[in-house]
Amino acid sequence: MTDAGTTQAGPTEGIGYFERFGVTEGIISRTLSTALSRGGEHADVYFQHRVGSDIGLEDGAVNRAYASVELGVGVRVVKGDQTGYGYTEDLSLDALLECARTAAAIADGPARPGPERLHLARPLPDRYPLRRPWGEVRPEEKLPLVAGLNARAFAADPRVRKVNVFLRDESGVVLVADSTGRIVEDRQPMTLLYLSVLAEQGGRREQNGYNVAGRAGFEFYTPERLDRVVRVAVARTAILFEAGAPPAGEMPVVLAAGSSGILLHEAIGHGMEADFNRKGVSIYADKIGKPVAKSFVNIVDDADIAGARGAINVDDEGNAAGTTHLVENGVLATYLHDAISARHYGVSPTGNGRRESYRHPPLPRMRSTYMLPGPHKKDEIIRSVKRGIYCVNFSNGQVNIGAGDFTFYVKNGWLIEDGKLTRPVKDVNIIGNGPRALELVDMVSDDLAIDEGGWTCGKDGQSVPVSQGLPTVRVASMTVGGRGT
């Protein structure tokens, strides 16, 4: 397929990859000058070429392939908190200038000059080096991987009736240039493998699955990882035959290490995105510097987990991206900023300005969100619970930013009775209120794990890839959406 970004490594200065589409410094400079022609304070252009490929298995055959190409450019003009945005799939100078004029209209004042020359602000890291870039991987290599997982899933348990496998790879390149003269290109690979299992037992059916994802090439699929995908997908399905609904109501909730980081994503992560706070619509507005959790609670949002789905070298505004501390020793520390909110608060950008594609302006978004290890032990935490639930894995979550209510949906878990895991539970939603749930985090273990799953975060109609992690954590009380008492 088309070879988006197969060769270069790490972010680079200037126009390398996009030369093939006729993009020149002259075109970018004229676009930025036009963008500032009505008094905008800041402008940027975001070129994107993303080539995706999926192969799928159903009913025993690798018999479907999907391929996609996105090529386009977005032009943004910022004045204060205001944004003008235009985008197009046509990379000609005329089309870019039309977008720039559209975006420029957000401002109404004398023209400002565009950049005199374009340059890389500073060297940027390479957090996703590839050994086997997807452009070099032939379908003949992917097909046996997918077919093999099918055979192994059927072999793993005689109750398995249907298996679906999808292998996705993406080779994307973006170019960001702005009115301060910064220019950077970044190659952004991604892969995701999903195995879904349907099993039957005594006339009942259950379905579950497992997925893994990362910014990596074909080397991501080690034998150990593929073994884990099959083992976990089948085990998580089989145990559903023994599982039931937990009781309804308030009780202690213990979150297993790993994908339970969804708690942080919903309970605090979104509420800490600075756009909601500058607008005053987040329950965390006005809380910076205040205690929000016990002193052993530390929460970060991190661009720098190499190879993670949520890793980025540079954000979609061209800002360096590092580790942002949301909660330090129990105190609310830093919002997640994009350029607009950073200017609004008079702070440095945190590298959280992200976008789904060239069709969208950037927003403050999470990357890899997790809690640092704490002073307790996993066994000690489970033993401490008289009656509650232990949540192992999750399918989705959501939050109301202002009211603070958030949910996460538990696909597999256990009932805890008298300090022991007694029976499996399934398909239960848990609901809490963000700040209250943080206050109620009263035990944190030392076993932090970053989940390897393919999490996607949605906001304002934009989806971006993220990661999350957690050590084993106890929340003293949340509402469990079970049945009966």
Partner: protein, 440 residues
């Protein structure tokens, strides 16, 4: 128009020239404008003309589906050549082919009136004025002193699309849509900042409510959220308002797809002809409604659109069967996806339903949660109001409902007279008895 159809025909022909035995090509072009307004000034203006092309390729009994926004001629030619080569590496699939040309016959000869000819006359000032008027109306409601922020949005799209199958189907359509919405955040004395919203939309600008009405409704809803409490866990009678009800209906309709059924992931498998819900569950799929948000003359596979019953007095009558999974199941296709739903409405208004209900809850919004399409189990976060003595009482939140869809729909006790106009599902208020609510 003919221009886009020509582009689509050429792409389909290119697929044949590149080695596909047959192909379906679909393309679109759209102009989209959105004006967002917040607290007295413009927040964001987005404007774009966008395009794309998709192809289903049938190559020597194999199948690939591809899409691109890179329509430069050489790039497109290479893309299709690569896609055909990719398809050749796959296993054959005897069920993949275009519909039989005989299935294209009977395209309804109606004008669905999906294009508002006045679209071209819109200017940025009118959008901005409407956005501002929504905020002004929001800030004029009783209790507006609690308002922290108002964000409003006015957006519209004018688009055209074309679909060409190499075995004879050709279709093209143009449509507009117009949306207004307002979101209001208020200060709760305990520090929470509850938010609520309202929206209005349609194919024609005339379908929009006045900006005042939308802004006022959003603000009244937000003010009503102040002081929300978590109620006790209990089994209750639950009314779900027309706007929120789509979430439940979506979880009932998803498992009706032939893909879910063939893959054994549907709790509704084998239920055609069986009583699935109470007699109040009575819904038709109606694709030919003039100006309908889900209206169409032909579906995504080129099959002529026709109305059919989905549930009649609680009995499942039809599933959503596309050609591919229909062949796998040995079923004749209906259509792959729902168009507009038409409910057998009740005679009671929402207020009348609450009066009948007496004691229970009204759900006005869901938060997260999920439904298991294989087993029918669901667990969903809810917010809304207690209902006491047939009237709304205090707001409730941070609560959850759980159950199984087969139980839930058999306990559908009443249906309102108020279809939600701003969704193709057109759900009315629904009342269910014996629902498990989790709270304190």
């Amino acid at each position: 128009m003919s221009d886009l159809l020509d582009v689509t025909r050429r792409a389909a022909q290119l697929a044949l020239a590149s080695g596909a035995r047959e192909a379906s090509a679909g393309s679109y072009r759209a102009r989209h404008v959105e004006v967002a307004w917040r607290d007295g000034r413009l927040e964001k203006v987005t404007e774009a003309t966008t395009r794309g092309l998709g192809l289903d390729l049938y190559v020597d009994g194999r199948y690939a589906s591809v899409s691109t926004s890179d329509l430069r001629p050489e790039a497109l030619e290479r893309f299709i050549t690569d896609a055909v080569a990719l398809a050749r590496t796959l296993s054959p699939d005897p069920h993949r082919r275009l519909p039989d040309p005989a299935q294209y016959a009977g395209l309804p000869d109606v004008d669905l009136d999906l294009l508002d000819q006045s679209y071209q006359g819109l200017d940025a000032g009118a959008r901005r004025d409407a956005a501002q008027a929504m905020e002004d109306a929001a800030r004029a409601v009783k209790g507006a002193e609690a308002i922290l922020s108002v964000t409003t949005s006015v957006s519209d799209t004018s688009g055209e699309s074309a679909l060409v199958h190499t075995n004879g189907f050709e279709g093209a359509r143009r449509a507009t849509d117009f949306w207004t919405s307002a979101e209001v955040t208020v200060k709760d004395p305990d520090g929470r900042r509850p938010e609520e919203s309202a929206a209005s939309g349609g194919r024609h600008r005339a379908a929009l409510e006045s900006p005042d009405a939308v802004g006022r409704r959003a603000a009244e809803r937000a003010v009503a959220r102040i002081g929300a409490v978590k109620g006790a866990s209990a089994v209750v009678t639950m009314a779900v308002d027309a706007r929120a009800a789509g979430r439940l209906v979506g979880a009932l309709f998803g498992p009706l797809s032939a893909a879910s059924i063939q893959q054994k992931r549907s709790f509704l498998e084998g239920k055609v002809g069986a009583q699935v819900g109470s007699v109040r569950l009575d819904v038709r799929d109606t694709p030919l409604v003039p100006r309908g948000l889900g209206s169409r003359r032909y579906d995504g596979e080129g099959l002529p659109a026709r109305a059919f019953p989905v549930f009649e007095r609680g009995v499942l009558r039809n599933q959503y069967v596309d050609c591919y999974y229909g062949r796998k199941l040995g079923l004749a296709p209906t259509t792959a996806r729902a168009s507009n739903l038409a409910w057998a409405l009740g005679e009671r208004s929402p207020a009348g339903l609450l009066a009948d209900l007496g004691e229970g809850v009204l759900v006005t919004g869901f938060l997260g949660g999920n439904s298991n399409s294989t087993t029918g189990d669901f667990s969903l976060g809810v917010r809304g109001f207690q209902v006491r003595g047939g009237r709304l009482a205090e707001p409730i939140g941070e609560m959850n409902v759980s159950g199984n869809h087969l139980e839930l729909w058999s306990r559908l006790a009443a249906v309102g007279d108020d279809p939600y106009r701003y969704s193709a599902m057109r759900t009315p208020t629904l009342v269910f008895e014996g629902v498990q609510l989790a709270g304190t």
